[in-house]
Amino acid sequence: MATHSTAIKGVTERATYTGLMGWITTVDHKRIGILYGCTAMFFFLVGGLEATVVRMQLYSPGMDLVSPGMYNSLFTMHALTMIFLAIMPLGAAFFNFIIPLQIGARDVAFPRLNAFSYWVFLFGALILNGGWLFNTLPNVGWFAYAPLTATEYSGAGTDFFICGLQVLGVSSLAAACNFIVTILNMRAPGMTLMRMPVFTWMTLIISLLLVFAFPVLTVGLIELMFMRFYEMPFFNSNQGGDPILWQHLFWIFGHPEVYILILPAMGIISDIIPTFARKPLFGYGFVVGSGVAIAFLSFAVWAHHMFTTGLSALAVSVFSGATMLIAIPTGVKVLNWMATLWGGSLDLRTPMLWSIGFIATFVVGGLSGVMHASPPVDTQQQDTYFIVAHIHYVLFGGSIMGIFAGIYYWFPKVTGRMMNETLGKWHFWLSFIGMNVTFGPMHIVGILGMPRRIYTYPSGMGWDFLNQIETIGVFIIIAGMLFFLQNAFRSWKNGEIAGDDPWDGRTLEWTIPSPPPEYNFATIPVVHSREPLWDSKHPELGDHLPSVTGASDDVDTESIHMPNASYWPAITAIGVGLGAALLMVNPILSISGVIISIVGVYAWSFEPAAPEGH
């Protein structure tokens, strides 16, 4: 009956496309999540390759594999790629795919805005990497300190840095606004804030951090751009400007950014550990509250990146104290994960291994982080390999481990097929060992005084052997990645069929088929507890009402109201990307990008978001 509804006057057919056009015009959060994930995984490999060349150059003293200039570009691009094009979008891939499923929604609040975020991200990533085509890569470090970024000292690479990050900022802001509204306003009936899965909570917190942190970087980049393009004296000390202002603006963004990178991983393992320990998360309220506390404090600690710039003693003391304070909620989380493991019936399958690996290595990185909170210690360690060791223990040992835990955990939901356990365990152990072999010795060479960002070093400093070990570690990580890639490609098509609930899950995403139908839930579930699926499987454990799940067959799925596909988000994003890219050539030309965006926004506003008349 419903299939003939087009015959009724005033009812329009839903706009859909197939093939490549289907991906370009998709507004389905699940497909957008897959687009984010595949793009980010590509850039993760690119960033890894850049790091491999860096490590090969440092294998022994006096190597000349790459020129000093190229070396500067490589470590700059490695950091920018990993932070903005790999870890953040991998997080976004999970937000997109998982959040609507965890809160019992059919899509995000603004499906077309969501598609727009992805396409803008893609064009931002291309602009940031545009320097490869012109052989002028960003080479000023990912934090691009003034006055090194002035036109006297750096070339067009810095322009690619500015325009690329501005465009990526548009993407992050649009996505973050979208997810705040989605999480707060589209929860299934009964899902109060304190019944949300921890991953959903962390996504909400990250989105708030993005909304408040990114505009500050945007302003810093605008000022930097105006200084470079139009000779405005913003960070120019000859005209009274203060180069340290850039550092403040950058780190007011930069430190919340650190939590934007780590909180997705913390959310992921907070969902995985209870599933594989077969116990509810210990101290749910404290884990959530700690996340909120971290978010607040993250805006009050930025100057600990600047202890050596000559801040006043009072400022140093306050920022040092606040930084030590932030270790408390972080420690609370770690202890809660441990307490969840304690006494659980542990099932050490691949997602759980990655989660436990996360706890182990993240604690190491967290402890070296607390050391930096002490200004005298920090002054000693500033710009040495000790800092490099710290950030890689929290970003590789933390964020990346958590992200791989999430990939192994949700891969069956995304593809409908299981990943291979044996290959997964090879991947885990090689990565875990390789990671510690690579980054562990950096603590020691750092304390021995080896500065970071140098393209080579003399022999006889006591650094040679440790540097060789570090470089060997990289190849262990690469071996692990080869197991992962083989596993992912093989399992995508030929893995074991997963079924709805392969892990004996606890939350709503496991109540629906794998992969989920386009509308996710045939009927919107009603939630009566924090772990609705677990409680409905185990009525003997509590007095909760069983949850209504979306798997019922008697629902006419043809009648479910789904949004139209649209190519306007992609076209508007092309306008944004083109406008930013042409800004580097001539501001007049970039008006063409603005015009495309304006046309896109108008067409977007006036096209129907969903078929009319239903």
Binding site: C177, N185, F234, Q239, I524, V526
Partner: protein, 206 residues
């Protein structure tokens, strides 16, 4: 944070947990973000307030009476915006269009003052390249002006829509969103007027 529990719903439409319109919520979140955008520019301005090493300096060039007039015009436009939205919500289309036009017109007048001011300053030798005051003044007020210009385009677009497709009371949210944005831009100007113009009458601190 408090929660409004929604009872079991049979409808297949999306839940609306907080009972707030999705687009209105989105606009509030965006405006929260925009606060930090202007906040960072204002912080830059304040940091560099006494840092210019060549003139013209703020107290030599800013004209508080003229800008007070343009400020009054911009704030009046907020009143017109309120009256326009109220008329749309009542379904009084002709009054709504009149006040919508008045809002956009007053906003355009404000922009006219700003163009005049920029032109005048350039004539007096103050450009964004001249000194730190020029750089911070033109970027802060310039980005505010860009926000106003975007708002004016939005308001005129709504006026066009009200003539072609019509904006009945049940679609007045389309106007309310523009209104939220418009009031925000006005409030930001109150801060900018205080920080740039009124503070310039104080003697420079050492």
């Amino acid at each position: 944070m408090q929660d409004i529990e929604v009872e079991h719903q049979e409808s297949t439409d999306h839940a609306n947990t907080l009972g707030v319109d999705m687009r209105k919520f989105l606009m509030w979140v965006f405006l929260g973000s925009d606060c930090l955008f202007f906040g960072a520019f204002i912080a830059t301005y304040l940091l560099y307030r006494n840092s210019s090493i060549v003139g013209p300096y703020p107290h030599e060039i800013l004209d508080i009476p003229v800008t007070s007039a343009s400020t009054f015009i911009l704030l009046t436009s907020s009143l017109a915006m309120v009256l326009s939205l109220a008329a749309f919500q009542r379904g009084n289309t002709s009054a709504a269009r009149f006040w919508l036009f008045a809002t956009a017109f007053l906003g355009s007048t404000f922009l006219g003052f700003q163009v005049f001011e920029f032109y005048h300053f350039a004539h007096e030798g103050l450009t964004p390249k001249t000194n730190l005051f020029g750089a911070t003044f033109f970027t802060l007020t310039g980005f505010h002006g860009a926000h106003v210009a975007l708002g004016v385009i939005w308001l005129f677009s709504l006026l066009g829509v009200s003539y072609t497709r019509g904006i009945p009371p049940e679609k007045s949210m389309n106007v309310e969103l523009a209104g939220l944005y418009w009031h925000f831009v006005d409030i930001v100007w109150v801060v900018i007027f205080t920080v740039i113009y009124l503070l310039s009458s104080l003697p420079p601190s050492s």
